[in-house]
C-alpha cells in the first residue's frame, strides 16, 4: 500500500514509464558494473536522491518500504562475513571469512544500488503503467493477463480477508489460540471458495463485454515521451559514469 501511495502521488507520476524504466535499468547496470563499493554506494545514493528529492517521495515512506529489503540484505551480509568451521577435533567455530569484509562490501553495495533502482521504478510508477509498458514491449499476453488479474485480485482479496477477519473477531473467533487456529482454517476455506467464485464471476463479466480471448485494454498516453526518455538516458549515463569512473 505504501508503494501504491507513492506511485500515484509523486511528482513524476505523469512522466513516461518508459523513461523511468530506462533510468532504473541504467541504475541496475551501473550498480553491477561498479568498480568499487564506493562507486556502487554513489549510484545507490544518486538513485535514492532522485526518488526522494526529484520525485518527492517522502524519505520516511521510502525508508519504510526499503526496510524489509534492507533487513534481508543485512542478514545476508552477516552470513557472508562469517564462516562456520566444522572439525572432529574442535567444536563448531565461527570466524571471519578470509575475504569476508571485502566481499560483503562489494555484494552489499551493489545490492543496495540495485535495490535503489527498483525502488525508484516502483515508487514513481503505478503498476498499471508498467503493465502497459510491458504490453508495448510485446510481453506474452498470457503473462500480462495473469499480472493484471493478480494485481486486481490482490486488492479484492485483501478486502475479503479484512471483512472475514473482522466478522470472525466480532464473534470471538480469535479469543484463544485454539479458536484462532480454527478461525484461520475457516478463513482459508472461505477464501478458497471465494477465489473460485470470483474467477467464475470475472469470466462471466468478461463474456458479457464480448471477450473471447486475451484481455486487451487501451494503453495510457504520456506527453513528451521522447524528451523524457532522452533525459532519463542522460541521467542513466551519469549513473554509469559515476559507477565506472569512481576509483
Amino acid at each position: 500500500m505504501l508503494i501504491e501511495q507513492s506511485a500515484y502521488a509523486n511528482r513524476w507520476r505523469a512522466v513516461s514509464p518508459a523513461a523511468k524504466a530506462v533510468y532504473a535499468l541504467c541504475g541496475i547496470v551501473a550498480a553491477f558494473a561498479a568498480v568499487s563499493p564506493a562507486a556502487a554506494l554513489t549510484v545507490a545514493a544518486l538513485l535514492a536522491a532522485g526518488t526522494t528529492l526529484g520525485a518527492k517521495v517522502p524519505p520516511g515512506r521510502y525508508l519504510r518500504v526499503a526496510a524489509p529489503a534492507l533487513f534481508f540484505l543485512a542478514t545476508s551480509c552477516v552470513s557472508l562475513t562469517f564462516s562456520l568451521a566444522f572439525s572432529l577435533d574442535t567444536d563448531l567455530a565461527w570466524r571471519l571469512a578470509p575475504d569476508g569484509l571485502q566481499r560483503v562490501a562489494q555484494v552489499g553495495s551493489r545490492s543496495l544500488g540495485a535495490l535503489a533502482a527498483l525502488l525508484f521504478l516502483v515508487m514513481t510508477t503505478p503498476l498499471i503503467d508498467l503493465i502497459a509498458l510491458l504490453r508495448r514491449l510485446k510481453t506474452p499476453e498470457v503473462l500480462l493477463d495473469i499480472m493484471v488479474l493478480c494485481y486486481r485480485m490482490l486488492f479484492v482479496f485483501s478486502a475479503a480477508v479484512h471483512d472475514t477477519l473482522t466478522a470472525q473477531s466480532a464473534r470471538l473467533g480469535y479469543a484463544t489460540p485454539r479458536l484462532a487456529l480454527r478461525s484461520l482454517g475457516g478463513l482459508t476455506a472461505n477464501l478458497t471458495l471465494q477465489v473460485w467464485q470470483r474467477a467464475h464471476d470475472l469470466n462471466v463479466a468478461a463474456q458479457a463485454r464480448n471477450n473471447d480471448g486475451p484481455l486487451r485494454f487501451l494503453e495510457p498516453r504520456f506527453e513528451h515521451v521522447q524528451r523524457d526518455v532522452a533525459l532519463a538516458a542522460a541521467g542513466g549515463v551519469i549513473l554509469l559514469a559515476a559507477s565506472i569512473g569512481w576509483r
Partner: protein, 281 residues
C-alpha cells in the same frame, strides 16, 4: 416497438434450483423498466438471458423481433447491443485502471484505437468520472466503482442497458447522482432495464414495472396507471411488495378531502407541490 422479448423462457440451474419458469416479458424500445421481486425470484437469471450469458432450456428470447442466435457471431452482435452492469462492481472490474477497464468492451468489439479513446472519454463523461480516468480502480469509492461499471458498458454504445440492482449499497446522494446519470442515458435514446427492491424509486422513475415471482414475470404494470392496475390485479401485494408510499399517502389525503381525486402523483415532491398549490389557492 418491442426491443427485448422473453417468451415462456424456462431455465433450471445444475443444482436443480429454478431460475426462470415460463417467464414472459417485453421491453419496449426507449422505455424505462424496473424489475421488482424478492431475492431469488429470477431477476439476475433473466438479465443473464438478455445478454446471452445463459441460454433458455425452453422458450425463446427475441431481440428486435429476431430469435437470439447463440453462435459466436450472434452473441457478439447481441452483446454489442445489450449491455449488462453487474450488481457487485468488484465482480465486473478486472483491470486495475479506470481507463483500461472502460476500454475493455470497445476493444473487444474490434474498434480502432482512436474510436476506442473517444468512446472511453464519452462514457466516462456521461457518468461524471472523466477526472478519475487514470486512477486505480481499488482507490475508488463503491459509488465511483458502480459508475465505472456503467461507463464500461456504455462505451460499447448499447441500445439496451441492463443494470442489476444499481442502487444497492449507495447512499442517498449517490442514488440521486446515479438517477441523474440514468436520466441522461435515457435522453440519449438508450432503453433501460434495472432491478430494484425500492418500489418507491421504481414507481417514481420507471415507465413500466415488471413483477417477478418464483422465476415468472407475474405482471407488467404501467406506472402511470399503477394504482388502478393494482386494485384489479394485486400484482404487487402477491409479490410481497407494498404500494409506493406516495400512493398510499395520496389515497389517504383524497379520502380525507385534503386533495381532489386526480391522477396519482409519481413522487413525494409532486405531492408536496400539489399541497402547496392547494394552500395558495
Amino acid at each position: 416497438m418491442t426491443l427485448l422479448e422473453f417468451a415462456d423462457v424456462s431455465f433450471r440451474y445444475p443444482d436443480g434450483s429454478v431460475g426462470l419458469n415460463a417467464c414472459s416479458l417485453a421491453i419496449a424500445r426507449g422505455s424505462r423498466n424496473a424489475l421488482v421481486g424478492a431475492n431469488g425470484s429470477g431477476k439476475t437469471t433473466l438479465f443473464q438471458h438478455g445478454n446471452g450469458l445463459l441460454r433458455p432450456q425452453s422458450g425463446v428470447v427475441r431481440y428486435a423481433g429476431k430469435t437470439l442466435d447463440y453462435n459466436r457471431g450472434g452473441l457478439r452482435e447481441l452483446r454489442s447491443k445489450v449491455g449488462l452492469v453487474f450488481q457487485n462492481p468488484d465482480h465486473q472490474l478486472f483491470s486495475a485502471s479506470v481507463q483500461e477497464d472502460v476500454s475493455f468492451g470497445p476493444i473487444n468489439l474490434g474498434l480502432d484505437e482512436a474510436t476506442v479513446r473517444q468512446r472511453v472519454t464519452d462514457a466516462l463523461s456521461a457518468v461524471g468520472m472523466l477526472d478519475c480516468a487514470s486512477k486505480a480502480v481499488h482507490n475508488l469509492s463503491f459509488g465511483q466503482k458502480k459508475r465505472v461499471c456503467i461507463a464500461g458498458v456504455l462505451a460499447m454504445e448499447p441500445e439496451l442497458l441492463i443494470l442489476d440492482e444499481p442502487m444497492a449499497g449507495l447512499d442517498h446522494a449517490m442514488r440521486i447522482e446515479l438517477t441523474a446519470v440514468l436520466d441522461g442515458l435515457q435522453a440519449r435514446g438508450i432503453t433501460l432495464l434495472l432491478a430494484t427492491h425500492d418500489i418507491d424509486f421504481a414507481y417514481r422513475w420507471a415507465d413500466q414495472i415488471h413483477v417477478m415471482i418464483a422465476g415468472r414475470c407475474s405482471a407488467s404494470l404501467p406506472c402511470a396507471e399503477l394504482e388502478e392496475f393494482e386494485q384489479r390485479h394485486n400484482a404487487l401485494s402477491d409479490a410481497g411488495l407494498p404500494l409506493p408510499s406516495v400512493l398510499t399517502l395520496h389515497r389517504q389525503l383524497v379520502a380525507q378531502g385534503v386533495l381532489p381525486n386526480q391522477a396519482s402523483p409519481r413522487s413525494h415532491a409532486e405531492l408536496l407541490d400539489r399541497l402547496a398549490n392547494k394552500e395558495n389557492h
